[in-house]
């Protein structure tokens, strides 16, 4: 990463020729933004997106399989729900500490924690979506000669889509937020510049605001994009 802070810099780090704004540690110094977009903010943003995509992607795959099991065999529903509950209840910092002896100070450790948090939201949403299909719809599917698999693929899954996508939205936004804590372990994602700013003795306001603001912006953008996807793939849902 940038490294200037880890080296234990001065109260106002040495940026070469600091502007007046930086000298008085102003709330938002555009010159710093311009200079450090390329070496600090942009890479952190890309890393953050990567952390989120991997966590939500793997989390979705696992949650989907678990939800299938809970859907097909109802007795597994409560235990699986309890498991995702438990994972979600572990404070993230504690979970990192538990994982470090196993996977070290790595991105993998962070992803394991982030993924396990998405399960809680995704599992519940996928399962409730699959269960939301009205009885009469299932009966007419059966009566018309759908096989069990056809009923699942052509009826239950598409009708569960609004709930599933709603879950993906919540999980994505939550992961973007929680992923900032990754910087507690490694210099990775938008959490890193946030931590840097906080650890600056006088609190480096511009960096805090810029990186924190980016995290918020990322969350809002992701939410908006997913909302558009949701509307596009379930046109029928708006009518209900």
């Amino acid at each position: 990463m940038t490294g200037w802070l880890l080296a234990g810099g001065p109260v106002i780090p040495n940026f070469g020729r600091p502007s007046a704004c930086l000298k008085r540690n102003g709330w938002f110094c555009t010159d710093w933004m311009g200079k450090h977009w390329g070496d600090t903010l942009q890479p952190a943003l890309v890393q953050h997106i990567e952390l989120t995509l991997v966590a939500v992607g793997i989390g979705f795959a696992i949650a989907f399989l678990l939800a299938l099991v809970g859907f097909r065999w109802r007795i597994f529903d409560a235990p699986l729900g309890g498991l995702t509950d438990l994972l979600y209840a572990i404070p993230s910092i504690a979970l990192f500490q538990l994982l470090v002896p196993l996977t070290g100070l790595t991105v993998t450790t962070v992803e394991i924690a982030l993924t396990s948090y998405t399960l809680f939201i995704l599992y519940r949403n996928i399962l409730s979506g699959l269960r939301s299909v009205p009885d009469e719809v299932l009966e007419s599917a059966r009566g018309m000669g759908f096989t069990r698999l056809q009923t699942f693929v052509r009826v239950e899954l598409p009708l569960a889509a609004p709930a599933i996508l709603a879950g993906v939205r919540i999980a994505t936004v939550a992961t973007i937020s929680i992923a900032t804590v990754a910087a507690f372990l490694i210099q990775y994602g938008l959490g890193a510049p946030i931590f840097d700013a906080i650890e600056t003795p006088d609190l480096f306001k511009t960096e805090l605001l810029a990186s924190g603001g980016l995290a918020i912006l990322l969350a809002l953008t992701a939410d908006g994009l997913l909302a558009v996807v949701q509307r596009a793939v379930t046109p029928w849902n708006r009518l209900r």
Binding site: S140, A141, G145, F146, W236, N237, R240
Partner: protein, 316 residues
């Protein structure tokens, strides 16, 4: 693809639910001739819906047999059996996420029909059930009224041209005015299509209006009487049937015939009420009572008087 109507035979068909006292359907034996509407009617607990669902094996038989054109339903592949039978239920059960076109095309698609064939068939069926093929095909079920949805349900059941239709209280959740219209249209359709239909209802008036034959089931799924509407009304086999069809069964029997069925005399009809020949005798009698008259003039489709009918002619 089957298209000709099939003969349906219940042969001692029996359903006993495990852990429940008594049978839901008890040794039911009846034959529905090809191309006729058989209405299953009776009080709740009479097993009429169960009997219907035995046919497409949504509920498995406990004993006896059901045959379609001589072949036991148990000898059919389950999925193929269901695809070959039209199925309409009260809550319609349209797929909310599919357009009307996709809903109606469901079974043809399962059967591997190509898209062009399905498109043509859907347009044909929408027209048949009184919907607009251009306007309605791309709409979703949520955009339709209850009556329109049931029309789509009927079109969907007809899509693969089944030889047998099962209809479980299809008009039960629809308001009386629309229901009467749907019943009339259904009869008009049936006149053209001549399907074998098993129709479940708890409404004896609907049974009388629609049925070529009526099977009255009593508590415990036992058949009380299986007959034409006329005979059920005029000769109920026991008190249960007589009670079920109601004290006004003589009036209901009147509704089965129209003024056109009578032979009007050529007496002078000045000042008498004028009624079209397709008016049923029950309505004609009601008019005579309301207007304190003893006779009326029957009018043909062209508006010309066919003759005079007296009150006692109606009651004969």
């Amino acid at each position: 693809m089957p298209s000709a109507a099939a003969e349906l035979v219940f042969d001692e068909a029996t359903k006993v639910y495990p852990g429940r006292e008594g049978a839901a359907v008890d040794h039911l034996s009846l034959t529905v001739p090809a191309g006729e509407i058989c209405v299953l009617v009776g009080p709740s607990g009479g097993g009429k819906t169960t009997a219907l669902k035995l046919v497409n094996r949504l509920i498995p038989l406990t004993g006896g047999d059901i045959r379609i054109d001589g072949t036991s339903i148990l000898d059919h592949d389950l999925v193929e059996l269901r695809r070959s039978i039209g199925y309409v239920i009260q809550q319609v059960g349209l797929f909310p996420h599919m357009t009307i076109e996709a809903n109606i095309g469901t079974v043809p698609k399962l059967l591997g029909r190509d898209r062009k064939w399905i498109r043509r068939r859907v347009a044909e069926l929408l027209e048949l059930v009184g919907l607009d093929p251009d306007k309605d095909r791309k709409r979703f079920p949520a955009e339709l009224s209850g009556g329109q949805r049931q029309r789509v349900g009927l079109a969907r059941a007809l899509a693969a041209n089944p030889s047998l239709m099962l209809m479980d209280e299809p008009f039960g959740a629809i308001d009386p005015i629309v229901r009467a219209r749907l019943q009339d249209e259904f009869l008009r359709l049936q006149h053209e299509l001549r399907k074998t239909v098993v129709f479940v209802t708890h409404d004896i008036d609907e049974a009388i209006k629609l049925g070529d034959r009526i099977a009255i089931l009593r508590e415990g799924g036992r058949l009380a009487q299986y007959d034409t509407p006329q005979r059920i009304l005029e000769q109920p086999v026991d008190d249960f049937v007589a009670d079920f069809v109601g004290r006004d069964r003589a009036l209901k029997a009147l509704s089965l015939r129209t003024l056109g069925d009578l032979e009007p005399t050529s007496a002078a009809g000045d000042g008498l009420p004028r009624l079209p020949a397709e008016t049923n005798l029950r309505d004609a009698l009601a008019v005579l009572i309301a207007e304190h008259r003893e006779a009326l003039v029957v009018v043909g489709a062209d508006g010309r008087a066919l003759g005079v009918v007296k009150r006692e002619d109606l009651l004969r």
